[in-house]
């Protein structure tokens, strides 16, 4: 049990975006969250990664209560995420984007930088190596010197993956990683997610692309109006009447 | 005389002037996200133009003010076209510096034309009146009434007319405004026109109780910035309320706390408010 939420709730004014959700994420699996627009999926992610603080309920990571931790502390524990709208350092190169990703695993401080200490040199090297490694992993070594703002949408998604991976995570949360990507490229990204799991990195993603989800996910949770309405394997979900009504509709081919 | 009521009235008067200036500032900020440091110079020019018309051609106060509103409004438009429009894609700091350039220019310009000394604006409403035990001049009463009338008109314009709501729409999404067929250049110009006009009204109303000189814009501009921040930048009700809050803080602070430190009190208040509410008292929803 890597992550566990207990009665997690988030309200915005009068609106209950996430409503008493109990959820568990198992290590080494691909977990998916689906649900209609506005169901509260992104909000749920924001709660888990610390970007929002819950109205009530608790979050445990490896048994440790992380409900009140700020996002950067959660990231240090090994939780990484991407955003629904691809959020990169647009003005920097791809490589630079990824180098800072490993910053949280380094110790060197301002004084090291000014005095150019051994530790500083060692860690600069370490971050660069890490960046090259993850860029290689996501298959982007060839664009590393381009500005992040100037590469294609699909490449951006991959950079976002790389950035998340550079933090040495145990689990990554991916918010609609393949939105706006054509089917051919979607497959490539799905392969990448499987490759992550092979590397012992747990994946949790939000998606609307059912075909991909059904093929990929080990476990699926369905949210509707902030509430969990179903949870289970792809097959169970496909045949769940509540889910069909709320979300899938008659034809799930899209 | 009852010092409290008298000071409340004084606070109301200063607050009215502050609000009018801050309104112009907040409108431009809302649309173009420009903290227009040159707004103080528009205020100053508003006073000079009214004054010139009155002295040189003996034009009546109200007519002079109307002309001043037009002229300063147009000046605002020119400023937009020549400076801020070309800078629309630049980062916000640039607007600040460009605005400072304009400010320096306009002040030097005023000094060249009108000289550096203090001028007095005579008002037809100099008579002293007694209001429920308070002393005031007719001009001060006019400032208060004038400000409120202008604010109501502005509010109706923004909320009840289509043209007014284009200003709000553009403040929220410039490209979105394009897509529904709004000519954003025109809206920007209109906003600058209104903003300049408001500055001219504020200056023409308040000039008779103070003096007219090239540096007079400094008196209000810094405070106007405090106000629009206090109110939440871009918020119209925020600017109005902020103006009055600052006016009252000043008059009451000077009376009951310390005259010398009254500015510090006002600024500290802002710092405290922003420390608690980092986005100002009124967010943009209330536009």
């Amino acid at each position: 049990m890597l992550i566990e939420t207990k009665k997690l709730t988030k309200t915005f004014g009068g609106l209950v975006a996430v409503n008493e959700v109990d959820f568990t994420i198992e290590k080494g699996k691909i977990n998916a969250i689906i649900g209609p627009n506005g169901a509260g999926k992104s909000t749920f992610f924001n709660l888990l990664s610390g970007s929002y603080s819950p109205t009530s309920g608790r979050i445990f990571y490896k048994g440790k209560d992380i409900t009140k931790l700020p996002p950067n502390k959660i990231a240090r524990l090994g939780v990484a995420r991407t955003f629904q709208t691809t959020n990169l350092f647009e003005q920097s190169t791809v490589l630079d984007n990824v180098i800072v990703g490993h910053r949280l695993r380094t110790e060197s401080n301002l004084l090291d930088a000014v005095l150019r200490t051994k530790r500083f040199k060692r860690e600069e090297e370490k971050c660069r190596d890490k960046a090259m490694e993850v860029l290689d992993f996501v298959g982007l070594t060839h664009v590393r010197d381009q500005l992040a703002g100037s590469i294609t949408q699909e490449e951006k998604k991959r950079v976002a993956f790389a950035l998340a991976l550079a933090t040495d995570p145990e689990i990554v949360f991916l918010d609609e990683p393949t939105a706006g990507i054509n089917p051919g490229e979607t497959e490539g990204l799905a392969d990448l997610m499987e490759k992550m799991v092979e590397q012992q990195i747990t994946v949790c993603l939000i998606e609307h692309k059912m075909k991909m989800i059904m093929a990929l996910a080990d476990k699926i949770m369905v949210l509707n109006y902030g509430e969990k309405i179903a949870e289970g394997t792809a097959e169970e979900i496909m045949n769940n009447q509540a889910v069909i009504e709320a979300y899938l509709g008659g034809d799930a081919s899209a | 005389m009852d010092i409290l009521t008298q000071q409340l009235f004084n606070g109301l008067t200063i607050g009215s002037v502050y609000s009018l200036v801050a309104l112009g500032l907040t409108l431009v900020y809302g649309i173009l996200h420009i903290p227009n440091f040159a707004h103080g110079a528009l205020y100053m020019l508003g006073a000079y133009i009214t004054l010139t018309l009155m002295l040189l051609w003996g034009v009546h106060y109200w007519i002079a003010m109307a002309v001043s509103v037009l002229v300063v409004g147009l000046l605002g438009v020119i400023m937009d076209r020549l400076v801020f429009h070309p800078l629309r894609n630049a980062p916000p700091i640039h607007d600040k510096i460009a605005a400072i350039g304009i400010l320096l220019f306009l002040e030097a310009f005023a000094q060249l034309i009108w000289g550096a000394d203090y001028r007095t604006m005579e008002t037809p409403y100099g008579q002293v009146i007694d209001l429920f035990g308070m002393t005031a001049t007719m001009q001060r009463v006019l400032i208060n009434i004038g400000a409120i009338v202008v604010m109501i008109l502005l509010f109706l314009f923004l909320k009840k007319t289509y043209i007014g709501s284009t200003i709000i729409a553009m403040a929220q999404n410039r490209e979105g405004a394009h897509l529904v067929g709004i000519n954003t250049n025109k809206v920007a110009m209109l906003t600058f026109m209104i903003s300049g006009g408001l500055a001219a009204i504020a200056a023409s109303l308040s000039a008779p109780i103070n003096l007219v000189f090239p540096g007079m814009g400094h008196l209000v501009i810094l405070k106007a910035f405090v106000i629009i921040i206090l109110g939440g930048m871009g918020s119209v009700p925020g600017a109005i309320l902020g103006g009055y809050i600052l006016g009252f803080t000043e008059s009451l602070g000077a009376t009951y706390l310390s005259n010398d430190y009254k500015d510090i009190i006002a600024f500290l208040m802002l710092v405290v408010i922003l420390s608690i509410k980092p986005k100002g008292l009124f967010s943009r929803e209330g536009f």
Partner: protein
């Protein structure tokens, strides 16, 4: 109705769209297919005046419109529903819709009628009509964007990836809505990645790759085309 001939668009030194010819007849529903970065949005922005073309001619109802200001283009009857929606986040749903009818602002009655029609078309918007647009979820915002575009009663509507990030059920509804709009007499030019669903409702299609058109034809032809199937519909 709309005719692009040899249109190119540059970003700085980079040509995003090169020598493109597109025609849309009145009443048609035409789809532009293409992967990310192919140049679909760029073409749309060029048509609606948000982006300057570097060469070529765009004719709308026989008059050239390239280089005209965006508001002029909206007035002539072309409305774009942009990829990132471009709503007025702090205005309510209703106010957003009313702003959509800006070019008809003098015809109060007509505006109110359109408003009712749109709210009827999207019941969820009716429910949320007094909520700020910014507080809606992605899908709701997309509907609002389409609704706002409809408010101006366009002759030609440009829809840029309306299904992006939407739930399957909603996507289905969305395509139904688009079809309905088209059947009600609005010409539609649609950009989509979701090729299968799009082609099902479209008359014709163009396929973009790196800024140029590589395949074009009727929906049936495209659906039958092998390369198209492989690249855009999935095996």
């Amino acid at each position: 109705m709309l005719e692009l001939s040899r249109v190119s668009v540059d970003y700085g030194g980079f040509t995003a769209v090169e020598q493109v010819d597109i025609t849309v007849e009145e009443g048609e529903l035409v789809v532009l297919l293409g992967s990310n970065g192919a140049g679909k949005s760029t073409i749309f922005n060029a048509i609606s005046g948000l982006q300057k073309t570097s060469s070529g001619i765009i004719l709308f109802e026989e008059t050239p419109i390239q280089g005209a200001a965006p508001d002029k283009i909206v007035q002539s009857g072309i409305v774009q529903c942009a990829e990132d929606r471009k709503l007025f986040p702090q205005m309510t749903v209703r106010e957003n819709l009313i702003m959509g009818a800006y070019i008809h602002r003098r015809k109060r009655k007509q505006v109110n009628r359109s408003l009712e029609e749109v709210l009827e078309l999207f019941p969820i918007l009716h429910e949320k009509r007094e909520n700020a647009a910014g507080s809606l979820s992605g899908g709701q915002q997309q509907m609002l964007a389409i609704g706002r575009a409809l408010m101006s009663k366009p002759k030609l509507m440009l829809l840029d990836e309306p299904s992006i990030g939407l739930a399957p059920l909603i996507v289905e509804q969305m395509f139904e809505v688009i079809q309905k709009i088209n059947q009600d007499g609005t010409t539609v030019l649609l950009a989509e990645q979701n090729a299968f669903a799009a082609l099902k409702i479209a008359n014709r299609g163009y396929v973009f790759e790196s800024g140029s058109i590589v395949v074009q034809g009727s929906s049936e032809e495209l659906l039958a085309n092998d390369t198209v199937r492989r690249a855009y519909i999935g095996a």
